[in-house]
């Protein structure tokens, strides 16, 4: 494994990290152990080393490099579990069957846990034992964060977002951006209403790069007459704590959204076209808070599909252009929102050409899990994306849709690199452009 990758990581708070190597490893293992329950231990114990998970991973498929075998990415933590806390830990320790994990080991594993995994969960579907490999990676990231070995790009954003609610240095507050988007696109943006039934969030990527998608969501909500508001204190729902592997920061970031929703008495938090925002808020926020949330969490495509099914949202039919749809992993495979985008596309009369790997089996965009934010991952990301772009082309599609802004960023970058003849479009924008008056 290259040392260049190791040097590229500054680590979370590494500059102030006065701990010894031993203490940092202990920190990692402590965080790892705290995430343990019977189901995770089952995952640790059950692996039969069949290597099949490699055949689900786009990074292995694209490169043929065995180090990208998903379960190998969790190897250090599997080893530590068997040696330190498994049922026969003393046996493995005394006989030296499992070597002690060192800081150097963890440093070598940074690349595998952060630079070559989107936590997309495809490997969990191929495992003949039924192991949740992606969960092991996620827990491994938590350990790495506690050892001060999370990538600086993610750790810094997570810290900033936990502190300010905004995961980047901005010239203008997001609330200002929202107002400008409203003015530019001629839609009324409801901001900071004291009480509302729906609290809406926006994706950071779309605020900056695809403002028309934000405007589209607002347009549909206005058309539906929804009682909604954005909240200045929690405009984005994405969670860099999830990417970086910090349980503490993830909880703090999620709490900001949860508190705002509670404050305005919302019965629904509407997550925009952002995969990780959806997964972290829909399936992890309540677990982190240790309480049932007093509101529902829905992805915008789910909400719109419900409106279509209730007859409240009627759409015009679009052209018959052959269209492929990318199922974002965090929303579809891991999040369970499989039917909603197809309900919308059906209502729109989209001539859908499914890829061979679609719905829960879709290949990831390769930008998720924070990889879009780590520049040095780009060469590997592009290799995996090439596989996906070919799969889209194989459908004969002329239009390419998705429902995640992070995926769009990844595909836009890959499209530019490969001179791809398609642009990745937002499903919600297509809906907004075709509302039946």
């Amino acid at each position: 494994m290259s040392t260049t990758a190791t040097q590229a990581f500054a680590g979370a708070g590494a500059a102030n990290d006065n701990r010894t190597a031993e203490e940092r490893v202990e920190g990692a293992m402590g965080a790892f152990a705290r995430s343990f329950g019977a189901t995770v231990a089952w995952n640790m114990e059950s692996c039969i080393h069949c290597g099949m998970c490699a055949d689900a991973c786009h990074f292995y498929i694209a490169t043929g490099d065995a180090k990208y075998t998903p379960i190998w990415k969790a190897e250090m933590f599997k080893r530590a579990f068997r040696r330190e806390s498994g049922a026969f830990a003393p046996f493995f320790k005394v006989l030296g069957l499992k070597k002690k994990v060192t800081l150097k080991d963890l440093e070598e594993w940074q690349e595998l846990l952060f630079d070559s995994c989107n936590m997309c969960g495809r490997c969990s579907l191929i495992c003949p034992m039924g192991l949740e490999v992606a969960e092991l990676i996620e827990i491994g990231r938590r350990g790495m964060y506690e050892a001060g070995l999370a990538p600086k790009e993610l750790a810094d954003r997570a810290a900033l977002q936990a502190e300010t609610g905004v995961p980047e240095e901005v010239e203008k507050p997001y609330a200002e951006l929202l107002k400008e988007i409203g003015e530019k696109h001629g839609v009324d943006v409801v901001l900071d209403k004291a009480k509302a039934d729906i609290m809406v969030c926006a994706p950071r990527n779309d605020l900056n790069r695809n403002p028309s998608s934000v405007a589209a969501m607002v347009k549909v909500l206005n058309k539906l007459g929804a009682d909604y508001t954005f909240r200045s204190d929690a405009i984005v729902a994405e969670n860099y704590g999830y990417y970086a592997g910090s349980n503490g920061l993830q909880k703090k970031i999620a709490k900001r959204v949860v508190d705002q929703a509670k404050k305005i008495g919302a019965s629904l938090v509407l997550v925009p076209e952002c995969g990780h925002a959806y997964y972290s808020l829909r399936w992890q926020a309540a677990e982190l808070m240790g309480e049932t949330l007093p509101f529902k969490v829905r992805h915008v495509t789910e909400y719109l599909a419900e409106q279509v099914e209730a007859g409240k949202l009627k759409l015009n039919k679009v052209d018959g252009l052959p269209t492929a749809f990318h199922d974002p992993c965090q929303i579809v495979r891991k999040g369970g929102v499989t039917e909603a985008p197809r309900t919308l596309m059906s209502e729109l009369g989209v001539n859908l050409k499914e890829m061979f790997n679609h719905e829960g089996f879709s290949f990831c965009c390769a930008g998720g899990g924070g990889m879009n934010d780590i520049e040095r991952t780009r060469p590997l990301r592009l290799k995996a994306q090439e596989v996906k772009l070919h799969e889209v082309d194989d459908t004969g599609a002329k239009r390419f849709l998705t429902s995640c802004s992070d995926c769009r960023v990844a595909f836009d970058d890959a499209g530019e690199h490969f001179n791809w003849d398609k642009k990745t479009e937002s499903l919600v924008e297509l809906v907004a452009d075709n509302i039946k008056e």
Binding site: D65, L293, V337
Partner: protein, 222 residues
């Protein structure tokens, strides 16, 4: 006490003790970690999740069509030698007698296959095991993730299979010693069982069930 008497007497009893208590401890040690209470609003009911979990126990044996092109060979070899081993252990005449003696019951209804057929199955099983071993070394991800557990487990299985075939086919050496070698290797398997990957025999269905159950609660793919 002859080596044969030792292998099927005290050593077998010791091996069985290690096996039973080792397996129980390894299962209990996992269960003692407890199941976390979940707070997220579920997409599907508990009943549906239980059904999906149950179905996943069986369905995961057959690869999804999206993966079969890449995994068919490995799965065929893997399941192939497992089926062979089960056939030999559960339907081979001497083994059926061994189980009945060990557990102290008579089961005239227990079917057995002709010895010749069991020998053919045994040879095929060893061939499949050889392919699996070569593949473990040649297939890059497999080689990367393989460790002592994988090779030691395979070594014990080879010892059992080869000594068994040797005894049946009348290879050189005293039958008593060959049979003792066969039983000693089986005892080693029992002793190693709780410590290594052989535990997957007990983990496979709970692990599949939990995966299917938790995914179904989210409405996620299984």
């Amino acid at each position: 006490m002859s080596i044969l008497e030792f292998s099927r007497g005290p050593m077998l009893h010791f091996a069985l003790l290690v096996f039973v208590f080792g397996v129980l401890w390894r299962l209990v040690a996992v269960l003692m970690l407890g199941f976390r209470k979940r707070y997220s609003e579920e997409r599907n009911s508990n009943d549906k999740a239980l059904m999906v979990g149950g179905a996943t126990c069986g369905l995961r044996s057959w690869p999804h069509k999206e993966f079969i092109g890449r995994t068919a060979f490995g799965e065929a070899v893997g399941y192939g030698y497992h089926i062979g081993l089960f056939t030999i252990v559960l339907l081979g005449g001497p083994h059926v007698i061994f189980w009945q003696n060990l557990f102290g019951f008579s089961a005239p209804w227990w079917p057995t296959l002709p010895g010749g057929l069991i020998t053919v199955v045994s040879v095929l099983t060893v061939i499949l095991m050889l392919i699996a071993t070569i593949r473990r070394y040649m297939h890059r991800p497999l080689r990367q993730i393989s460790n002592f557990d994988d090779y030691f487990t395979l070594a014990i299985l080879y010892a059992i299979m080869i000594s068994g075939l040797w005894a049946v086919l009348g290879g050189p050496g005293r039958y008593e010693y060959i049979l003792a070698a066969h039983i000693i290797s089986f005892n080693l398997l029992l002793i190693w069982f709780p410590f290594g990957k052989l535990m997957h025999a007990f983990y496979i269905f709970p692990a599949r069930f939990v995966n299917g159950y938790l995914h179904a609660k989210k409405g996620a793919a299984t």
